[in-house]
Amino acid sequence: MLSVVLKTFGDLMSALVSQKKNLFSGETLSGWLFISPMMFGFLCFFIIPVIAIFGYSVTEWNILSQDSTFVGLQNYQEIFTENEEFWLVVRNSLVFAGGLVPLNIALALVLALALNQKFTGVVFFRTVYFAPVITAGAAWAIVWSFLLQKESGGVNQLLALIGIDGPNWLREPNWAMFAVIMTRVIKNVGLNMILYLAALQSISPDYVEASSLDGATPWQRFRHIIWPLLAPTTLVISIVTVVGSLKVFDHIYLMTGGGPESGTLVLAYYIYERAFEFFEIGYASALAVILFVLTLVLTVGQWLLKQKEQ
């Protein structure tokens, strides 16, 4: 869908710029009536809130004291220059995305290539790899917290059977980040796998056959034929996965609570913590503005990248 979104985005942009007057004015009323339920809600619960966070972000506002004062860019100044925690959050978010995105995409591609073969049981394996996608994030995170305990966790018990003394996965900073990334990859890789699979199945067999006749090895065939044909899908998957990695909340909240030693404190969770546990609304809103801008830049940036490629 995202490729269509990007294309539509482009079409709409050019339509707006050229101001084509091919509209049937007679239907304007019914058009607006049709979209009014959706757009009214969108206005109330998205547009106005987005404007509001910009407003909140220039205030000092604690829910408990009930009053807010205008402080200009002080929150931003605090975020960028005074509060070292923010840079830790940035680092963590980058490590999280940097670990999750390549792993997720590579594994999704490998699984899709494997399941694109014809063999008995292909539906079974597809069902298995996709199952975590439809499972509630909260349930998945809770079961993995159970599995990753130090002493009685399933993973360490299995490791102990083969003589390995497993770490305290969720209580040691580096292992905690690793554990959250891995469980999140397993949770979501099925979705990207399906998207790659759909793309692979739309590749005409003629291309692949022709290359076989030319005597290309399977690797050459992948490198020079299949991989370039998958490029649009890879772009879409990258956008969705990068933005998705910014959204990670369930896993952090339930598995580590941002700890240990703030080792898994990432941006989305940091906003929640500041707003709803410390009640620092102004500060949290400034963080939300940063998340908003970041998401917008990522989306539009990758869109521009795509335009350049074409």
Partner: protein, 297 residues
Amino acid sequence: MSTLVFSKSNRKDAAMTDVPWKRYLNRVLWYATLLGVSVPFVFPFIWMVSGSLKSQSEITAFPPTIIPETFRWENYVEIFQYQPFAQQYFNSLYIAVVVTISIMFVASLAGYAFAKIKFKGANLVFLLLLSGLMMPEEVTIIPNFFAMSTLNLMNSHVPLILLPVFGSQGIIATFLMRQFFMSIPNEVEEAGIMDGLSRFGVFWRIALPLSGPALAAVAILSFLHSWNLLLEPLVFVSDLDKFTVPLALNNFSDAYGLPLWHLQMAATSLAVIPVLLIYVIAQRHIVQSFAMTGVKG
């Protein structure tokens, strides 16, 4: 005994002279690899069900047991005594149904207009809508929190219904419906207009009945989205009997705040297994619904 083993290996040898051994080995390796990769995908479910049937002491015992020594079915009774889990389960269910129906309604109307009706401002409005497609909920949750508390809707289910309907899930659904309606030829609708149907009549009598597959995909995605929500219930709901399932799952703990794993696993099993069963039965449709959001429309 030894003769049995001997004859068995003998037969194997015979088979390997028929099939080239390399191909046979390849096939074994192929399935072994795929099964090996399956472990982290499947084991959590097995361990969850296994843990849900263990006593508190067996759950920490070493060496671990996959099949519990004694099946402790009482866990599945105790979760309902510990907190109003039946009520919480019902909450999640009815909220997901209301969200699903609402999204189907607003998204098909809006999707139809964006696909079929040429009206002033359509492009600009649609562009605006797309900007919300991938936005994390954390961006808008703070102002929405104040809006809901001003409207006295805190600790109610209204925000858990409104926010997903008009948030990214509603936008995705609008987009899916628009893509689908664009694929319906105009001639089909023109016949309806000739018969004197209004715009709404054309939508309701002609376009909507054709959109079954797209609506089904929207329904599946919306239901799962609502069923799985965690942040919104966490922020908006505080009473135990207003909790939804994801919130309740994390709430089985002892006096020291440590998780009661056997109860958590029982509750999690009850939350996960029905969805998983439906998924196994209808996996083709469900997988396709997700695939639609990524590629086609």
